[in-house]
């Protein structure tokens, strides 16, 4: 095959691809991408505080602060917790109550060597018990 014939064949290659090309669609696609670029560069610079990373950090901080306030409130609101626990404790027998005390590593209040019920606890003992039950 001589070079001329080779060039002749080469001239025919890709012709069908060119014929099938939707020029208007390509043009619209190019212009749309250029326009998007232009819009991107024309957009005013974000304020430093509205950058995505800063916003994420602010959101995380807000969650931590809010969570802290709620936990603190729950801890400070001990009387409500004690009120919720007290009826349960009231139903426990002296042996069961002793088990509870043992599990909490506090000394069970005893009266002359005999385990006693909840009604035998003084206010300080009951408060200590409730504090430990709240964890």
């Amino acid at each position: 095959m001589d070079e001329n014939r080779l060039e002749q064949v080469a001239k025919t290659l890709g012709t069908r691809a060119a014929d099938r090309l939707d020029v208007e669609r390509v043009t619209a696609g190019v212009v749309a991408r250029l326009r998007a670029d232009h819009a991107q560069t024309a957009r005013p610079q974000r304020a430093w505080w509205s950058a995505p990373m800063v916003l994420r950090l602010a959101a995380a901080l807000a969650v931590l602060v809010t969570g802290g306030v709620l936990v603190r409130g729950a801890l400070e609101n001990g009387s409500e917790s004690a009120a919720a626990i007290a009826p349960i404790l009231r139903d426990l027998s002296a042996e069961e109550l002793t088990e509870v005390f043992d599990s909490l590593f506090i000394e069970a209040p005893v009266h002359e060597g005999v385990a006693v019920g909840l009604e035998s606890l003084n206010e300080a003992q009951l408060n200590e018990l409730l504090r430990l039950m709240e964890g």
Binding site: L13, R16, V26, L34
Partner: protein
């Protein structure tokens, strides 16, 4: 009556000033030629996407166009880069669709089959040529450019362009005669 159609250079200047319509006109003017070049390079079914990507890249770096070559051949060189990037991304060999062939002599069924078969083999081999050989061969054999313009477009010397062309032709002849 004088030809009032703006030249490529005028459209390029207009686009540099932000005239979108000028960019659109340049695409309309050269898209088919670029598609033909990319089709022959083995772009297969990706021709349309590649043509769009090629012009998008061209307009984004229009300041890099110095006018040493025509706008069309400069865009073709960008297209060749885009094709290389696409192949790297897909890690695939060029797919050459049968319908991309022309049928030079439809009146002679035998000649048609031979011609189609030859074109298929050549196009497959062109897709396998080293990029510089492929670009030089197509710019010369398909687009009819002379060596100085090819060299300016591809950023090489006239002598090197001749060597690339020579190697490409030798390899394609082997395939055609094979």
């Amino acid at each position: 009556m004088p030809d009032t159609a703006p030249s490529d250079a005028e459209l390029i200047e207009a686009w540099r000033r932000g005239d979108e319509a000028a960019a659109a006109e340049l695409v309309r003017r050269h898209a088919r030629a670029v598609a033909r070049f990319l089709g022959a390079s083995g772009a297969g079914d990706d021709v349309e996407d590649l043509v769009q990507e090629t012009f998008y890249r061209a307009f984004r770096k229009i300041d890099g166009f110095r006018g040493g070559a025509s706008f069309r051949t400069w865009v073709m060189a960008i297209g060749s880069n885009a094709l290389k990037d696409l192949r790297r991304r897909y890690r695939r060999r060029p797919v050459v669709a049968l319908e991309d062939r022309d049928i030079p002599d439809a009146a002679d069924p035998h000649a048609e089959v031979v011609s189609r078969e030859l074109a298929e083999r050549l196009q497959a081999e062109i897709g396998e040529l080293p990029r510089m050989q492929r670009d030089v061969f197509l710019l010369r054999a398909q687009q009819g450019l002379d060596y100085p313009e090819i060299a300016a477009t591809l950023g090489t010397t006239v002598g090197a362009a001749r060597v690339h062309y020579h190697h490409a032709v030798r390899r394609l002849k082997r395939v055609a005669e094979g």
